[in-house]
Symmetry: T
Subunit: 149 residues, 12 copies
């Protein structure tokens, strides 16, 4: 059975509490539960991880080597400047799906650019918690098949 | 039953023939067939449209008023400069999902910016034909429910 | 009797329906009627044309040669990138008045720049439907007199 | 009866003498006379003011509070950098029409940008002395009616 | 016998009439006749096409697949922004020669950049109608030989 | 008989040896021989010159006054920064054709801009050694006729 | 007893009347009274000055030489472009505290940059009328002591 | 009694030791002691925290929810790029005062821009240790009163 | 006898007192005396004027019409942004020599650009008080002779 | 005996495993061993440290005070944005040699700029593991001698 | 007796022949003769040098060490990019006066910036051959006196 | 025995005389002698060359073909703009080590960018004469071994 690691970056632990007009009312725990459930529906194992620490996210990506076949990551604010996380993704050579809850292209100029996107397999932006679920579907496809349409 | 219009922009009629190392081997017709099939699985009506003409795409968006509840659009090259298509989307006030087959963030600098993205509900980039199918899932969710997680 | 061609670009056919908080509730047909009426008050013949197609607007400008003495154009979104329409205006060498309904300088950065403005005789921006009527007055003056104050 | 203040900025006192190939041969006094005449035709009171001093223009705008319902301003060179005049306009909260005699978009790059335009109701550019007269018509409409087309 | 398609973009139908100080007095029909004649001298078949419509040019490029071995294109104003035409050229994978009548580098800043040039085999700029004839010579060489000096 | 000077800039002496995947295998001597031959076919005298020294190229352009009617120049890397060579060309007032072997628009960003192009009659880019031969044809036309199509 | 000059720039005379959602309801006279009162609490003499004229502010700064030990200045809009006021401050060599009522970093891009800040001792931004009072406290410290923590 | 959290970012633990010509000789411990003392004078509880770790600062901001009414933060170098800390501040919705010891506008270009400033209530820059004390006064005002002058 | 007006802008009244390490110790009065003396040596009448007010400088330039044949101006800080003074110079059509005491190219970036320079006959920068005297020599040449070497 | 601290930043723990076509096959442990050996050959003590955590690297630099005379640092991705590490280096005032394994100037644009370089003594880039060894030689020279050639 | 070296850069040997509408009709030899004559009037020895070769100009500057007390240089096109000549000037530590015949600020954008200006004592621009003579006067003052006004 | 060519660019002949606070007191001859000595220690032949002429440096690089296995180059000021030298290096396909004596990243903005660096094997910056010696060590490694750590 394929295994997928879902990583959430800084401030996502406050999801549901933080700026609900932008990010909605669902908590991260609820999303994690639903991801595990959807994973088993799609036939993949799902593990979740959250940290506010850039270094801890890098460590988690390194630790995924040999254990997970695809990563789904919501890098939060680190999307916009953490070249270190970008390099971690290319270092471990695991296909990675980048997701964002809000439509970053509707917000401040500096949120329009992601340093992660060019090393991700693909990106899903703007569908609230659904971004995670669509990201998991994309990841499951990447994990179980290399055939791209 | 909700109805979703799927629009494909310039050169997508050559899909499967054009630069397969970037866009894959699936033809647009195959994708259209699968979209209709997936739509009926998701309980939504799906119509498809392709044109190389910016004006024709604008006309199609206008015609969607009162007939479709959500638009899925792959604007192709027009993503990067057609403010006219952007304005068409805001004019008709229909939620719109933007999709791209290739990971535009891995390609030329000018492909990193979409004038459509800020007026779309969300964007799905880089999963080949799966971008269309994930986009249809997102659209179906938008069509059948306003609750965002 | 002098003749003036009034051209409206993409999405203006939805006027009165589209984003009324920006563009107001008057329809394009109402404006066209008033332009014809005001033209006869000012002693000029007025013809109107609208298209969402950049190429069709270029064709209309070409066809104005020998038939109209001044053009009033609201290029809509094409204002910001259609060098082809700009070149059409300089090609036919007919004095052209550029009008915009909304104050483009209050909106997104990319709407602050018009590629048409440098080849227009002048520009009128921000007065709603009055922009068209003021533009027709300016055009009538250009058509009937070369004396500038 | 509504009252409209027409303000002219630096160097416009030399109008008719200064660079006639750009600004024409009409003097500012002639324009002021015609504005008063046109005002009475339109049923509005017109007062005129000119100064080369940024501070004096700000003082005049402040003094307009409670005395004039609309301002027509040709800020001249101050258009391009006087944020202080811009703030004066927003401070007094009187609708303001910006006019320019020459087509600034045909001239030096730095004349293409106006710091006043985003706080004006609208802008009229490039019709010589007619810019003032069209501006007065626009102002009279703003003074006597809030209905915008 | 090899076949070469010569495409002319927007406003080139007015050649000989439009801004002769920039583009000269020869009409497009005269150029087309000379291209056919020169083609037969060089031993290649020549077809010509002109349109003001971006979409129609894309359609023509698509239709060239299997019928023409090289394209000569004067994209006119579309050179500067039509990524859609650029993508059409790469889609059909036919060697393409870009030509311009005027020396675009002597004109406005925005004419110095062509989005077509990076996907063309080569570019010929500034020789009036001769740009077309030199372009046909270059195309004939590309059609009949892959040896490059 | 008209005379044409063909100048090659830095590193072109290594042609055929240097980066053949970009510049091909033909040596500069072979090109020079063919240019002389083609010149006699076209009825013009051809002289050739190569130097790696910016100052020597300027001296050669100065010396062309009164001896050559047109210059064909491949300025190599100096294209991108030698304002001194640009000024030499305008100083001697001899029509000049700029040629490049490789398609500079496909290469590094800094090669997309030529300081020579705005003072050249025209530019030919990307056809390998053929760029020189097409350039000579263009030069011969300029030398023998002022009629431009 | 040390003396501190408090200067307010353009449009601050309208304080309490102008855009209260940005600047609050307190008038400049009320602030001036409180500054004098707080000054006597802190053991410093306070004088106040307001002008809409850039030149008058420069004159006031010059006149402060030998009369005041510290300047507190709210340069208003002149913060963003008056290099002349900046030079006046460096000319008289009197320590200067820059204050702003609103948080300029939350407003238009052009308000994020102050040409005064690099020649000020320090800057206090965003606390409404408290910005003046905190600025006076900072100034009193600078006036009575050179010891910085 | 209101509670205020004072956070100091990277390298501030070396205060008094590090670059004294820029930051002065007072140690962070001395400042913390004075802040607690001044807090009791102002009738507010003060807690202090320092870390070199971006993630630890984010965690501390999160932990302030429900415990502190205002935050005073000297983000040090993180001011210039930590969008993650910026998002932490907006996530917890606690008014925040940004302080800097040195006048950042006199130093390197990259120190002129703070990503924190637009989400802070206000900013105090350049008064050495006094920046902290003035910041605490501002915070105490924000904590005990919503009335802004 | 020709007459030359020498204008000095903001803060030059403090010359000799202000930043002597940049501007030297000579006072403006001393320079004015020497300019009058040198003028009589060169056979031209010299008048001098200084103001800190942009508007007053514009008024002085206007008043020079018909009274002075050349202007020498040290616009001080207004060099860098006063388009109004620039327009005043072009309005009166009097040849103008721009002078600066310090070498502005050695100082802050924003001092490298003068909006006056493109409308001046020429510029003299960096020779202290000698800049004024060299400027007067240049002006005397312009006043007494139109022959340029 | 002088002591040198060698710090490696994020993802360097994967050296030999990560992108060997860019970084080679040598592991970090092998490099550390060789550095210690080379140190003893050069007569200096060598300690090594690696972390993916920006804060931990800052802590390590702080801890070097009084224990090491020179630092050799490969900041990895933090080179491009960690102003906090830059400030840590200037805070401790220990000469620092920056090294990079790959030639960053051949890679993505954002890798061309290092915020560390301006505060380093010098930089060595592009020699694979040899960059570390050359860096240690440079560091040993800095530690044992202040004489620079 | 003090000695002054006057250096002229590329294309200045064509002076009087080249673009007389920009540079006038005086030849460089005439200017050189007048410079020697004016030098003897001012009591300084004058030597002149011209080259089109950047390296030769650098060699000449080096050779000036110990032989000339001031350099007057018209670097021509090298002004805009020759950092090598700039470094030569700082290397020999001889005060240098930069002169330009034409007003470079009225010409192409790239001529507005000089890499020489920041290392020159001062700059004289726009007075035709008089620029050289004024430059010699400035140089003579620098050579014979260090007193600056 | 491998042979290494060491090239020094403009103004380096003045080393030890020129700006010793930046470049130190060692002369180029001393460095050349030490390079030869160190070369024999490392078992490689060393030749040295210096010129102020860009063309001469290009000629020297061309002449290295077949005679030297590695080049060490200090391009001096040419580093920042000589694309011609860059192309010479890629033309001869000899591994090249770029060295700089001073830390260019601490100096003027324009010295931060090298057009040579992307075609060099690696770069060594900031260690005074040691930069040359470390560069020779790096070159010797490149010459005798292709194994990179």
């Amino acid at each position: 059975m394929k295994s997928i690691l879902v990583i959430s970056g800084p401030n996502l632990n406050l999801l549901g509490l933080r700026e609900p007009e932008i990010y909605g009312h669902t908590t991260l725990q609820t999303i994690h539960d639903e991801l595990v459930r959807l994973g088993s529906e799609l036939g993949v194992h799902v593990e979740t991880f959250q940290s506010n620490h850039e270094g801890a996210i890098i460590d988690a990506i390194h630790a995924a080597r040999g254990r997970h076949q695809v990563i789904v990551i919501n890098p939060g604010a680190y999307s916009h400047y953490s070249i270190a996380i970008r390099d971690a993704i290319t270092s471990v050579d695991i296909p990675t799906v980048e997701v964002h809850l809000s439509n970053v292209h509707k917000r401040e100029e500096f949120r329009h650019h992601s340093v992660i996107a060019p090393v991700a397999a693909g990106t899903i932006v703007g569908f609230g918690a659904d971004s995670f679920y669509l990201g998991l579907r994309a990841a499951a496809r990447l994990a179980t098949s290399q055939d791209k349409g």
